[in-house]
Amino acid sequence: MSGSSSVLVASDLVRRYDQRIVVDRVSLTIESGEMVSLMGASGCGKTTLLHILGTLDRPDEGRLLLLGRDPARLSDAARAVMRREELGFVFQQSNLLPSLTARENVALPAWRATGQRRASLDRADALLDRFGLAARGDAPGRVLSLGEAQRVAVARALINRPQMVLADEPTGSLDSEASLAVLDAMAEVCRTGAALLIVTHDPNVAARCARRLVMRDGRLAPGASLSAVEDVATAHRTVV
């Protein structure tokens, strides 16, 4: 049973691809305003889990309650509405629609949700200003630097005031300076009251999260300490 402040309650989620178990009986609860990191070696199922939690994918087994509702019982359209109004996404790269300007990229989910283009653009401008991108509002998505594009993506994830933001290695392609800027932006997410789940390989990112999860072979490792997180990061650096 989910508590009143639980944004997400997952129980025994299983996902298989071609008989291979990618997510293996994962249970997880995330509270409002909580900042959670999820680390693990490449291919351990982090992104698949993130997609299941974000209703982009469906579990083969287990149950997910998102804001008290089971996405499996919702229609495609209702899940789309949930993604639009309750969730925000930030991916590692190629986050933006290249033919749209930065402010149009940010405003798009709000325009789709409210039908008010002008108000959505104004809100996009405010968010871009908050993330230090006011001067880049009219730049097309394709010309923005990786760091700028990621901050635009964070602004876009926040525009509909979501209950939860799911970020898949948002600093994975960035240098340390750009990473810091994006992390500051991500921290803003929690200040709005939204929960944040970050999939990352970066221990510095994980260190900024109140709760750190580690995934191994599709399973969440219980009671992950910061040292375990650093082990994962070291393993990732070795692989990469």
Binding site: H51, L56, D76, M82, R84, E85, F91, L97, W111
Partner: protein
């Protein structure tokens, strides 16, 4: 049981639905137009494909329509009518005037005119040419010829209209005198016995073209009189408004001409009928080629565009765009391309048609093929091409809507 309804509530609900629909279409239109700007080469090629198809299909169809119209006009209006009435027995009809008057009263008949035919030869400038000589009513609205030089026939015993081909072969022109030798007997087997020829010197009043270019025409009253019966005819030519409806009127015409042989032009002139059908088949094939010329590249290029934009589709899904949104966006993309292509192609088509009207592709004697283009034809072709674009665009749109966002975003698809 009484069901209470709330009309205001229903109205508000409908308004909200319409607003939501308009908003969704607005967002999709914005995304579609921006996506088209993303790849100007693909967009340009697609618009060009549609424009070329309509730009050439419309003039081609208009030319074929013009050819078909001219063929029917020359062969039926200025030819031998839509329904031909001939003697059931023997070679001539007696009381042709009375029969024509009866036939003219048949509903749907514009005019019924008797014609009398006789074998003849024309001598001019030392050349002898065999012709079929027709006696026609000069005052009728319809004649089995179209005058291309000089003047039309009048009631006279001294004048003849000569086929343009005969005139050309014999070096004759309007105003020249010719000697006409006419077999006056209506019973050819008696020719050797009675030597029934009439020899007349006549002035060429005009030249006639196309189907009549190997014939000669005089007043029927003159020719019939020379044959000894003022009201003789070889056939009565019946004209109706709609050429293609000629078979439908045959029973009524037959009822008004008991004992006569009555045939619609389709049965009487297989060559003409085959020609018209061939033109219609060519027009259909041309239309189909136009449709394929649009459909295949649109399908291929939009499909490629869909594949290239998979990542964007994944992002839009993550942002909360529904499958319907994605389908509409990609379909609108096709619609914008189609509309732009039709607009450009339509202008090209109209310009080409105007050029071809001024410079016909076929102009021989009086037979001139000028493209026939009506607003209805243009709109019909534009709608057909636009429909083809939408159908061709709907598969890539459907594919875009069915893509698995999770697989796309992980780079698996």
């Amino acid at each position: 049981m009484i069901e209470w309804t709330n009309p205001v509530g229903r109205w508000v609900e409908r308004e909200l639905l319409l607003r939501d629909l308009a908003m969704r279409i607005g967002v999709s239109f914005f995304l579609a137009s921006r996506a088209l700007r993303e790849s100007l080469l693909s967009t340009g090629l697609l618009i060009l494909a549609v424009a070329v198809a309509i730009g050439f299909e419309v003039p081609s169809a208009a030319n074929l329509q013009g050819y078909r119209g001219e063929l029917l006009a020359q062969s039926l209006d200025d030819g031998f009518g839509d329904v031909r009435v001939r003697p059931g027995r023997g070679v001539v009809l007696h009381d042709a005037e009375a029969l024509s008057a009866r036939l003219a009263k048949v509903p749907g008949v514009l005019e019924a005119t008797p014609v009398l035919a006789a074998p003849a030869s024309v001598r001019g400038h030392g050349h002898d040419t065999s012709v079929t000589l027709f006696g026609v009513d000069p005052l009728a609205l319809h004649h089995p010829y179209r005058v291309i030089a000089g003047q039309t026939l009048r009631e006279s015993r001294d004048e003849v209209l000569l086929g343009a081909s005969i005139a050309e072969r014999s070096g004759l022109t309007v105003g020249d005198q010719v000697e006409l030798r006419v077999l006056l007997s209506t019973y050819p087997r008696l020719v050797l016995d009675d030597g029934g020829y009439g020899v007349y010197t006549l002035t060429v009043r005009g030249l006639v073209g196309f189907g009549a270019s190997n014939g000669a025409f005089v007043s029927r009253s003159f020719l019939a009189g020379e044959m000894g019966d003022d009201d003789l005819a070889s056939a009565v030519l019946v004209h109706v408004r709609d050429h293609m409806a000629a078979p439908a009127i045959v029973p009524a015409v037959a009822a008004a001409a008991p004992g006569a042989q009555v045939r619609a032009w389709m049965d009487d002139s297989r060559y003409l009928h085959s020609s018209v059908r061939a033109v219609e088949t060519l027009a259909g094939a041309s239309w189909l080629m136009g449709v394929l010329a649009v459909g295949i590249p649109v399908l291929a290029l939009l499909y490629i565009s869909t594949l290239n934009r998979r990542r964007q589709i994944g992002l839009l899904t993550a942002m909360g765009f529904t499958r319907v949104d994605l389908f509409v966006t990609f379909l609108l993309q096709a619609l914008i391309l189609g509309a732009a292509g039709v607009a450009v192609g339509g202008l090209v088509a109209v310009a080409l048609v105007r050029y071809l009207i001024a410079h016909p592709i076929f102009d021989w004697q009086s037979f001139v093929v000028r493209p026939v283009l009506t607003v209805h034809d243009l709109v019909r072709t534009a709608v057909a091409i636009l429909g083809t674009v939408l159908i061709a665009g709907s598969y890539p749109a459907w594919r875009a809507a069915r893509l698995d966002p999770s697989r796309i975003l992980r780079g698996i698809e």
